[in-house]
Amino acid sequence: MNTTWSRFNVTSIVLGFAFLYLPIVLLIVFSFNESKLVTVWGGFSTKWYVSLFHNQGLMDATWVTARVGVISATVATVLGTLAALTLTRYTRFRGRILFSGMVFAPLVMPEVITGLSLLLLFVAVGLDRGFLTVTLAHITLTMCFVAVVVQSRLVSFDRSLEEAAMDLGATPAKTFFQITLPVIMPAIVSGWMLAFTLSLDDLVIASFTSGPGATTLPMKIYSQVRLGVTPEINAACTLLIAVVAVGVIVASIANKRREVQRQLDEQAAQRG
């Protein structure tokens, strides 16, 4: 493999990273701007972070988003896991192909259509738009992602583990909770995190299905930006980026460590 830093390689890397991260860096830099004008640098300051925590509207929206995210991700994980189990285990029921196709339809459905159809449904059944409806909508949106993640793990699951558990006297229910669930848990956790992230950054569906008193953070940011970007919004976004970045970094370090430990263990085992 050629590892020398040719001029071409350096240029492509710089351009690629600039393309990806320049807007974000700009946003972070200007969140520390003293000036009220977003594009004019007026010196370093953290005052927008202070005022952010005094902005009741943004704080409320953050709280709504967190609650919607946790509840919808949890419900979606339960439903998505059940769907994945059914689709991988009971391969002979009528309409399985149709059903599995339908579970995954929201993956490719334009969000506008999902949002609009949910809105129509909620209006039709007379459900007042608010916290409940946006949570339900996010469950619909994220369930299929969980199903995909869990299903891909279940395909490689060794069924003889379950047979061994039953052979040793465990009832089917005990087998599921003591063997199947712990083994597929990593996939379920990553499914939950994916669902939570999707709920966190959804704007389109939330705009359709939310009502007064249940404004999520992306909706709040978007509506404020329409009145002009304030450094406060920059500060809010920077914090959001920080949370996501820390989450991703922690998760990947933990993953890497586990992987390395596992390899060491296996080498040690082979040596005897």
Binding site: D158, S160, E163, A165, M166, G169, K174, R262
Partner: protein, 379 residues
Amino acid sequence: MKSLGSIRRDFAPWNDPNAKPYIQFDNVTKKFGDFTAVNNLSLTIFEREFFALLGASGCGKSTLLRMLAGFEEPSAGRILLDGQDLRGIPPHRRPVNMMFQSYALFPHMTVENNIAFGLKQEGMPKPDIEKRVAEMLKLVKLEQFAKRKPHQLSGGQRQRVALARSVAKRPKVLLLDEPLGALDKKLREETQFELMDLQQELGLTFVVVTHDQEEAMTMADRIAIMDKGEVMQVATPAEVYEAPTSRFVAHFVGNVNMFEGKVAERTANTTRITGSTGAQIVVDNGGAAAPNSDIVFAIRPEKIKVSSKKPVDAVNALEGEVYDVAYLGDMTVYHIKLDDGQIVRASALNASRITEDPLTWNDRAWVSFRPDAGVVLTR
């Protein structure tokens, strides 16, 4: 005292008409859609027996085992264990345990928790569980690995954990699905003897599925040879080898020479066979072969003697030419092309280091064998 093969067996309940069968397959059939995996099969296994199901992949041997464990229900017929019909009893209520080919160790549990799993399910008190687990770890010599997870073990250690877990509950019957399939050759041979010792020590009934004839011959009291969902022969290893009842069994176990032919003449003690290529063979055991019927004479390579001169007192002697020689160390294998065109495989034990008058390619040679050296097969 004369015996078939070179081992005397004192444990032989299958020869005792009063012995009660322990496991009984009664006309069992299993179909998967259009495919018949097991076809109207009947079989009895006795208590404390080490029983092997031997066959190529797809012959139905694993299906038979899975029906005994309860993972599959027979499409027809019934399976009895100690007189009790097993139909409808789910796997977790059957007094049998299975050791899986993939070992199926629970990856999120330590070795000791894997072994304790079955004991916890039956609600055994904690101190008793600890005692039994320690006992099992000692039995498979894994005491210092109790706290390890399965991925921290080598293949041989995993195999022993799987074994310990499956015998921890003291099942009435232990089922072993290709128990040594994933081990390398040397480890496999050691483990074969360990398994036999373990079975003696625990006094359990073992039913093992294998495709490896040497493994079955080494370990089992009796072997059932299966083909296409049917049992071809059930017999001791020595009987299977020395007295196969069909061409399939003769071919499947060990090497064999087959002479196609007709029964030319039967007397009280001898049967004369005319080979389809003209060879004349006299045997003292014609079995059920009727005069003038088409039969096959089967003889193992090591029962055939090769010499450069015509043996003076041999009843059966055929002339040919050395076609191929393979020196294997402990023995030498000759392929002799008879003058009628048939190639005969003969093997000679190298009991001494120096051979007088060695044979080589294209030498003229005689093959000879005793009248009781082979068997006459009618099917």
